[in-house]
């Protein structure tokens, strides 16, 4: 009888022990407490073009803090997405899933500070995105999120942590409204201020409204004009319409096209300039020296963003470099870093991250391990799956349009802008890459679950 009804003090003691367990954890998990394996922080930025980072493009002077951080990082100059909407999130979380992290005794952040993307199932991604980044004040949102992140980082020191964040900051900046306070405005470069000033006198042209303390870059209205979105049914459809080649072609014919495009690019650069400071806070781990000494940071993107280089604005529509290429920098504490020309994609990056977690890849063997993951051929495709491409050894790129039957071949070393089609003059290389494409194309229905998850375009 006494066994069935334990004393009240015993119940209280057990409850107290359970309550205290999370605080006692570092004591009994001695191995974890002395675990010197690095933390891994992955910061991915949506739609960030590598050429908008000074570390990639010295002519670009508007990312000084990220550039400073990049000293000592490994800089991958040929990171290309499998799709111009590919998101490392899906590949990473499917690959580096919770069980994998648990097996290697990594703590994983499952909570999602607002403004950060952790794992969002593909079916929910659109809705989840729209909820916050279309409408809310992006700047404030991120500041709050960073504060949450800081708290989280400092609270997880017993075990090494793996944290993935995907920032939607650069996503379609030209129609994602951004409120700017006077302080924000003051932080801009003279060039940005000059440009914004120039358009103050012509608010209709770009619909820049200037209330007393806020500059509202309401680009949605701008785009409605530029792309003839006169009827209400298009109000929610800008993302698709922006990248519509037919509408883009009409836009190109308008007299103000050059100025319009300049403004669109400026909006993007302006946003990058603002993002620089925010990103630097995270990349420098808020100045926490203990974390700095033992955290590997991967700063990357998901895909690029086109500015009409091949007749289209935005992303998802084609497979030219401006849409597929993304920045990728890996920084180990105390390492010298270097430039890596080898072509990589998200799948390879996932394997590198897995290797870091498993302890198989470290600062000493990083370059060698990356070489071992080399793939001479990388396949990519657009979201509509009607244009496919094979990239060969960072030098050759073959593009096949399944609708028009048009094939293109470019030498990326001599023609990085993909302007001279070499199909006729280099038929052997074109056919070699076409053959690879024939042998390796896959039907989505036949992909494994993991592969399907990594292909979120469909």
């Amino acid at each position: 009888m006494k066994f069935l009804f334990p004393s009240l003090s015993l119940v209280v003691a057990v409850a107290a022990l359970i309550a205290l367990s999370r605080f006692l954890y570092p004591i009994w998990d001695v191995g974890a407490y002395f675990d010197r394996r690095p933390n891994i922080l992955v910061v991915s930025v949506c739609s960030l073009r590598p050429d908008r980072i000074g570390a990639y493009n010295p002519k670009f002077k508007r990312s000084p803090l990220i550039d400073e951080w990049s000293q000592g990082a490994y800089i991958f100059t040929n990171a290309v997405a499998e799709e111009p909407w590919q998101n490392f999130t899906f590949e990473a979380t499917e690959t580096i899933h919770r069980e994998f992290l648990a097996r290697h005794k990594y703590s994983h952040f499952r909570n999602r500070p607002s403004g950060f993307h952790f794992f969002v199932p593909p079916t929910q991604s659109a809705g989840a995105d729209e909820e916050w980044f279309w409408s809310e004040d992006a700047i404030l949102h991120y500041k709050e999120s960073f504060a949450e992140l800081q708290k989280a980082l400092l609270g997880r020191r017993a075990r090494p942590f793996y944290l993935f964040s995907h920032l939607k900051y650069m996503h379609y900046p030209y129609y994602d409204p951004v409120n700017m306070t006077e302080n924000d405005f003051a932080r801009l470069s003279p060039k940005s201020r000059e440009l914004l000033d120039r358009y103050r006198s012509d608010p209709l042209k770009f619909d820049l409204q200037l209330p007393a303390v806020t500059i509202l870059l309401n680009n949605f209205d701008l785009l409605k004009k530029k792309f003839n979105l006169g009827d209400d049914r298009h109000v929610l459809s800008t993302s698709g319409v922006i990248s519509d080649p037919k509408r883009n072609a009409k836009w190109r014919q308008t007299p103000g096209f050059a100025d319009d495009l300049k403004m669109v690019e400026e909006l993007y650069d302006l946003k990058m300039e603002k993002f620089d400071g925010l990103a630097a806070e995270v990349l420098n781990l808020y100045g926490n020296e203990k974390l700095k000494d033992n955290t590997v940071i991967i700063f990357t993107g998901d895909h690029g963003e086109a500015f009409m280089e091949h007749g289209v604005l935005g992303h998802s529509v084609n497979v030219y470099e401006e849409m597929l290429r993304y920045p990728l920098m890996v920084k180990f504490p105390g390492s010298k870093g270097g430039v890596i020309d080898q072509q990589v994609n998200h799948q390879i990056m996932s394997k590198i991250t897995e290797g870091l977690i498993a302890g198989e890849i470290n600062a000493r063997n990083f370059e060698q391990k990356v070489k071992e993951l080399n793939r001479d051929f990388l396949i990519a495709r657009n979201c509509q799956d009607d244009i496919r491409t094979v990239r060969y050894r960072s030098e050759w790129k073959y593009i096949k349009n399944l609708v028009t039957g048009k094939n293109e071949l470019y030498n990326l070393k001599s023609d990085p802008g993909e302007t001279v089609n070499l199909v006729a003059s280099e038929p052997d290389m074109a056919w070699k890459l076409e053959e690879y494409m024939i042998d390796h194309q896959t039907d989505f229905k036949r992909l494994t679950k993991r592969e399907q998850l990594s292909r979120v375009c469909l």
Partner: protein
């Protein structure tokens, strides 16, 4: 050694030739006969490596055009994926535009009016029954025309795999759409009937 083998394996012979031979002559080696002499060969290219691709483009007296692509050897799975993806792409051209940001553009613009296709028909072709995809084509003979000012041609696509020779055949056929009649498949029957093959293709 690996590098040498790799280079040797790619010691490919490339021959690209364009010549105006009769269509019958071009298709003879594949066992396909053509009952009409009305086709003018616009292009006949052969590219060889580990695989061989033959591209033949012909034009008939009524401005109908046929593009024949023959690729071999291709393993069955790759061939299936190749044909499926081409069909899927063509079908998608008549569907609502898709973007990753679903729910916006698709709902806003909607799909192509059904009178422009795609129609899926089972037709007799080369001693077998084949699934043929039919749709309106643009003045450049590209599939996916969805408006009256764009729909200048009727287009058809048919592909099949011949396992014995590991060969993938794909045919794109287009003919002027000037009679004002519905898209249909009658126009195509006459064209397809001109090609015969001793071997039944699955």
């Amino acid at each position: 050694m690996i590098l040498r083998n790799f280079i040797l394996s790619w010691a490919i012979s490339i021959s690209v030739s364009a010549f105006a031979s009769p269509l019958q002559e071009a298709l003879r080696e594949y066992g396909v006969t053509v009952s009409s002499e009305n086709f003018k060969v616009l292009k006949d290219q052969k590219i060889s490596g580990n695989k061989i691709q033959r591209l033949i483009e012909v034009e008939g007296r009524r401005n109908e055009r046929i593009e024949i692509k023959i690729v071999s050897p291709v393993e069955a799975a790759a061939a299936r994926a190749m044909m499926d993806s081409e069909r899927t792409v063509l079908k998608k051209l008549y569907a609502a535009p898709q973007t990753p940001y679903m729910g916006d553009i698709a709902q806003a613009i909607g799909s192509c009016p059904s009178k422009y296709g795609p129609l899926k028909k089972e037709m007799t072709f080369l001693a077998g029954k084949q699934d043929v995809l039919i749709g309106a084509a643009t003045p450049e003979r590209t599939f996916g025309a969805c408006t009256s000012d764009q729909a200048k041609y009727r287009g058809a696509y048919v592909s099949y795999y011949h396992p014995a020779t590991k060969t993938v055949w794909s045919w794109r056929i287009s003919a002027p759409w000037t009679d004002g009649k519905p898209l249909g498949s009658e126009w195509l029957s006459d064209i397809l009937a001109q090609f015969k093959n001793e071997i039944s293709v699955p």
